[in-house]
Symmetry: C2
Subunit: 159 residues, 2 copies
DNA sequence: CAAGATTGAGGGATCAATCTTC
DNA sequence: GAAGATTGATCCCTCAATCTTG
């Protein structure tokens, strides 16, 4: 199921915009940040990716002008990623369609109880994963399902 | 959550055996078949993969001696995949550890009610996906969760 | 032309090694 | 030595194009 959902999201995104699903995750995370700026390792943590994957992906996105890197003054090992103006344009154009398909495929099909169970199951399994792998961090909270559940369809189009 | 589960399964498999998660899916599907033999397009359908992905993956597995291809008499466009003796050895060695981690991470953490909800949610979303993409087939039933739920842990180690 | 399957190119993801700064 | 990040190799996956048989 997850495989097919992800395929559908990728398809929708690359038809309507020029973004992959990972691109979308990065841009949404950055727009949620003051200044659209984040330490690279924090972005990695927020999106649940490895350092290496994050680095490769940001390199590709920088090449396309969606983000830029900035040196960090206080810790000269580190770096920031910043969303560009073009990045903002693209994500703003892509968001409504993306949100719509997530609703169409999942949120609108399930009732309150199902969504509660899903939320709980997710937390349980993430806890199990954390135990399993020592201390795998399991932070992941882009669209808090439980909070916008009762908003009427017409008013709901934020990422 | 799915991302982390899949990463954990891949990690476990490549530590304990020499298989990736997709490798495992192919081998389990084949062993469930009389003669360990299946038409390539049926394997694609059973595993929920595209033709192209299936073809590429089988090519890699054939190169490693896990499966072989056979011509089809009745329809000379088609072909069969067959699991090799070595393929059987490998999957039999890998299965118990794989089953164990799935239990540890998911099945043993959830109660009957949660698993029922999950099963229903999965069907609902797959139905939505089928609508969305025209007629996406959504067959996927390797380990029917609902049927082995009450077997005591010690007796449960079939893929 | 449609169905079964393969191929090649290109993005995506992981691992191990590396480089720099703390 | 450890933390922040990058690199290169390699496998995985998708898309579009192709080849062959029905």
């Amino acid at each position: 199921m997850h495989m097919q959902i992800d395929a559908a999201l990728n398809r929708q995104l690359s038809e309507d915009s020029d973004l992959s699903h990972p691109d979308y995750v990065v841009l949404v995370t950055l727009t949620a940040q003051p200044g659209g700026r984040l330490r690279i390792s924090e972005l990695a943590q927020a999106s649940g990716w490895e350092k290496s994957r994050t680095s490769h992906h940001l390199a590709r996105m920088a090449r396309r002008g969606l983000v830029e890197k900035e040196a960090c003054e206080s810790d000269r090992r580190g770096a920031f990623v910043v969303i560009t103006a073009r990045g903002r344009e693209v994500i703003e154009a892509a968001a409504p369609g993306h949100v719509a398909i997530v609703r169409r495929l999942v949120v609108d099909r399930l009732d309150t109880h199902d969504l509660d169970v899903l939320a709980r199951v997710t937390e349980t399994v993430l806890a199990a994963l954390a135990e399993e792998t020592g201390t795998a961090l399991a932070i992941q909270a882009h669209t808090p399902v439980r909070e916008d559940r009762h908003v009427p369809p017409s008013d709901r189009n934020t990422p």
